[in-house]
Subunit: 196 residues, 2 copies
DNA sequence: CGTCTATTTGAATGTACTCAAAAGCGGTGG
DNA sequence: CCACCGCTTTTGAGTACATTCAAATAGACG
C-alpha cells in the first residue's frame, strides 16, 4: 500500500529514501478509504489533509449559484487529491472533492509535510518538483483555455492525459473542459465521422 | 534600482537579508533596459533569464496559425517576466515576451537562482512562497475560465488586478481574458449603462 | 427484466466572433 | 496651435458555435 508512495517520492525527487526516513513517512501518512460518492472535502471546510491516491479516482469541483458543477481537477492513482489553496493557506475551500470510484488515500497534514520536508531531503525535493510541474501544467491548461476551441481542447486532453478519458464519464470530462455534455457528445461525433 | 528587489525578497520571504547576502544577489542580477516593443523572448528560443521588473510593463503571448495573439500573462513593476516552463526546463518557448512600455529589468539565470537558493535562506523561502502563490493564482484563473462568463471574468480581473486595467490597452486586456476587443468593448458598455 | 443514469439527438436561443466601417484619441510636424 | 496621421475603441450586421430544454436511446446494475 505504501509502496506506491515510496516509488512516487523516489521517482519525483530522484533521491533514494533510507528505511529510517521511510519510517518517518509512514508515521505521517494515514490510510483512509472512501466509498464511491463519499466526500473528501466539502465547500466551506478547510482542507486539513492532502491525499495521495493509491487506488481509485476523485474529482474536485465548485457549484455555482445555478447549481451547476464545474470540475477543476480530476485525479487517479499516483496523483494528489486536495484543494491546494485551502491546504496551504488554511482557508475555507470553495470546492468539493469526492470519490468517483471506491478510493484508497494516504492522508497527510500540511504540518507533517513541512516537518518531513526538513527531515527527508527526498520529500523536500519532491515538493519542489511537484510545484514546478504543477505550475507548468497549470500554465499549459490556461493557455489552452484561452487560445483553443472546445474541440482542440478535447484533443489536447486526449494527448496529455488519455487515462482520464477512459476513467471518467463524459459528463465529467465535459465539465472539466468547460463545456456541456451535449457539446462534447457532438464534438466526438464530428471527430468520428471526420475520420472516415 | 536594486532596492525594489531587496524589498520584494524580504517581503515575500519574511526574512531579512544581510548586506553580505545582498552582495551575492547584486552579483547574480544584471540590469537591462528594454524599449517599448522590444523583445525579451522570442518563440522558439530558450528563456535563459527571468527578469524582475523594476519599472515598466511586459506581455507574454503566443501566436496561433491564423496569426492571432493570445496573451497569457501581463506584468508590471515587482512582477517577474519570463516563460516559467522554458526557464525551468530549458526547452524552447512557445511564447513571445516584449515590452509594452520602456522597461527596466533585473535579469538572472536559473543557475544563479539555484545557487542563491542554497546560499540565501530568504531567496529560498521567497521562491517557495512565489511558487505557492503562483499555483494558487493559476488555479483561481483556471476556475474563472471554466466557470465564469466573459463579463464575470472581466469583473474578477477588475477586482484582483485593477492596476492591469489602467496600465494596458483594452485590446491586450481582451486577449488576456480570451475574448475579442469588440466583445470587451460591448461588455464595458453594458456594465456602464447598467449602473444608471 | 425494470430502473436509474449517461449519452445522444433535435430545435430554438443566446453569446461571442468576424468583417467592415465610423468615431475617438494621442502624438507629430508644419 | 492646429491639421493630419496612425492606432485604439466603438458600433453595426451577419454568422458560427455553444447552450438550453426536451425527448429518445443506450448502458449499467441490481
Amino acid at each position: 500500500m505504501y509502496n506506491s508512495l515510496r516509488n512516487y517520492i523516489t521517482e519525483y525527487s530522484s533521491i533514494d529514501i533510507t528505511d529510517e526516513e521511510f519510517t518517518l513517512i509512514l508515521d505521517a501518512f494515514k490510510p483512509k478509504r472512501f466509498r464511491k460518492r463519499q466526500y473528501f472535502l466539502q465547500e466551506g471546510d478547510v482542507c486539513k489533509y492532502t491525499g495521495f491516491i493509491v487506488k481509485g479516482s476523485m474529482r474536485q469541483y465548485s457549484v455555482d449559484q445555478s447549481g451547476n458543477e464545474h470540475i477543476v481537477k480530476l485525479c487517479i492513482e499516483n496523483w494528489w487529491a486536495g484543494d491546494y489553496e485551502s491546504f496551504v493557506m488554511l482557508t475555507p475551500s470553495k470546492y468539493n472533492i469526492d470519490a468517483v470510484e471506491d478510493t484508497e488515500l494516504l492522508l497527510v497534514t500540511n504540518e507533517s509535510i513541512q516537518e518531513l520536508r526538513s527531515l527527508v531531503p527526498a520529500v523536500n525535493r519532491m515538493i519542489q518538483v511537484m510545484d514546478q510541474r504543477g505550475m507548468i501544467a497549470g500554465q499549459r491548461r490556461m493557455h489552452a483555455s484561452i487560445s483553443l476551441s472546445a474541440e482542440e481542447r478535447y484533443l489536447e486532453l486526449e494527448n496529455t492525459y488519455p487515462a482520464l478519458l477512459q476513467r471518467f464519464p463524459q459528463t465529467m470530462i465535459a465539465s472539466y473542459l468547460g463545456i456541456t455534455p451535449e457539446t462534447l457528445s457532438r464534438i466526438r461525433k464530428q471527430l468520428i465521422t471526420r475520420l472516415k
